[in-house]
Symmetry: C2
Subunit: 356 residues, 2 copies
């Protein structure tokens, strides 16, 4: 519950209603498509609904009338997020998402079942990857459809579209930077900071706020004030996420312990460690980091290097600083609504401590 | 040249200008993104511009004023097409597109070059796949942005959006049906016909006509008349494409001879052959069809089975019938413009004989 409205519940309703309509439409093309709609239902269930929440409160911050269809419009950001996650899991060959099989693994299992019945082996891995690419495409298309069929008038939609275009391109560009960073085999602080910003910060907080505010007719002054809050907070959010990827409890993250170390994710945390580790630590680090078969002891060893090089402390300090900057900016921001100020304060804590 | 305007040249200009703007925007995120923009430029160059051409003439057929920005709007369909091709090539592991390396192979080669310089091997194949998934995503996002930033007013865009939403979902659904068909290891005429319709027919001709007509304010009667022309013509177009995938000249198709036989594409042509082949032919067919290492003699053997089972003749007959149905429907259609009638007649020939 954020403030006076249960945004996550409203987002769930909007997503379910939208997917009901899509299921009817796709049934006309073929019963096989039910598999895609079901995968979309599962992929869009759960999660903290951070992006739609920021969109909702950006709308309220600009004085938007809660009787307008802001929840379906905000749900578009959850659909966009799911599209990015599904494609990201294919690119990273991740097996697990939110404690359940990743979409490509789910389709792979479906095809294995079918193959067992028909006796034709085929290529279940290839089917899984192909089907997940298409699921991500559908969610990307549906994100847009959710927004422009939400019920806002054409003028409001035209104001929001420039930010919606920006966020879609930014997150895709950020993913590409991440891919380049992983492929380089090196840690580069400048590149890690740009991945942090575009793959996550603008996309999770700043742009959702902008889209909500634009739908409500917020002016340039408010949009800029929301950036002052959203950008540092988005960076703090992702720094927390990076720490959880290494130190997080699998029961809370929905991913195996130390998963980011096995994947070799070149985060700001890692870039700091590489810049500040001793030579002996660096040798050990290079030997272990990014090996898919790391055991618990090796994970522990890498964690110690991150602690001892003070990389963990540096990230914690950054999180604290950026969150404070965000809250200071929020104090000064010309919000139209006190409930929005309260909700955005609560969300700042929730996004950076990840205990929602 | 179609009628009184050079649509392909106008589409090329619109795509280049749009990608120039995107390049500037992405440069702010990082110089690495130039690689994505360059890949998009190459992927959107060449081709027959069939989809934008049908969109343009649908607009003119509805009495649209050619001084309006119909070419940038129509270019959105070429961008959508490129998105589908890039993802399709990843799903099929195709090496070649339009005579050049497929996008994922191109990114793979880029990463190999970088890896040679840095001495870090990494995973160039994984990089290629990931980068091509992101390129397809960018083109899908840009298709939408091209349409809604084309310069049409909000009312015209709102009319066109329902058809744009439909075509994006239909082509993705059609791709999924195709994936299911390939994975089944069987030929099923009903499924092959649905793939034909949704993966290609509606997407190549009917929906582009609808989008153009809707932008011009065409009424329901015209929209329906355009379906009468577009749907059968779209099916004839894809049947021709299926024949070319087996019998086509590599110099014209931009793909190796008999490529669809190596890939094991379960087309209407193949479904017909399987339904009508003798038992001896069927044994031979099952032994060879879909084997990636088929040599020229084996390709020739499969071609003979397709001829002898009369599958080729059946497809040719279908192409003739559907094209005639399309032209009859065009004769009766209430078009606002004689140039449009002439151009759509010419396009019907061009799309089904593939000699443009």
């Amino acid at each position: 519950m954020d403030g006076d409205v249960d945004v996550p519940a409203g987002i769930q309703r909007a997503l379910s209603a939208f997917l009901d309509r899509q299921e009817q439409r796709l049934a006309a093309i073929g019963p096989e498509l039910t598999e895609q709609v079901q995968a979309a239902r599962d992929a869009t269930s759960g999660g903290k609904r951070l992006r739609p929440s920021f969109c909702y409160w950006g709308f309220r911050a600009a004085g938007g009338d809660p009787a307008l269809p802001i929840l379906p419009a905000a749900a578009s950001l959850e659909m966009l997020h799911v599209s990015a996650l599904v494609h990201d899991d294919v690119m990273d060959s991740s097996d697990v998402r939110r404690g359940a099989p990743a979409a490509h693994r789910r389709f792979e299992a479906l095809q294995r079942e079918r193959a067992e019945k028909s006796g034709y082996g085929g290529d279940p891995v290839g089917f899984g990857v192909g089907a997940a690419i298409l699921l991500g495409d559908l969610c990307l298309i549906w994100a847009d459809e959710l927004l422009h069929t939400s019920g806002f008038d054409a003028a409001a939609l035209a104001r929001a579209e420039q930010y919606f275009d920006a966020v879609r391109v930014e997150v895709t560009a950020g993913q590409y930077l991440d891919l380049v960073a992983q492929a380089s085999g090196e840690s580069d602080m400048d590149l890690a900071l740009r991945v942090l910003r575009y793959k996550s910060a603008t996309y999770t907080i700043e742009r959702p706020l902008h889209i909500g505010a634009a739908l409500a007719g917020g002016d340039a002054h408010l949009i800029s004030a929301l950036s002052g809050y959203g950008l540092p907070l988005g960076e703090a959010f992702q720094l927390r996420d990076d720490l959880l990827g290494v130190f997080g409890d699998p029961a809370l993250t929905g991913k195996p312990a130390g998963d980011d170390l096995r994947e070799g994710k070149r985060t700001v945390l890692i870039a700091y460690a590489v810049d500040h580790a001793s030579e002996a630590q660096l040798v050990e680090f290079d030997r272990l980091f990014g090996r898919p078969d790391l055991d618990d002891d090796e994970i522990q060893l890498l964690r110690e290097i991150l602690q001892d090089s003070r990389a963990v402390q540096a990230c914690e300090d950054l999180i604290t600083d950026r969150t404070e900057d965000a809250l200071d900016a929020l104090d000064r921001a010309p919000l139209a609504d006190d409930a929005a100020r309260k909700a955005l304060t609560d969300l700042a804590v929730a996004a950076t401590s990840r205990v929602v």
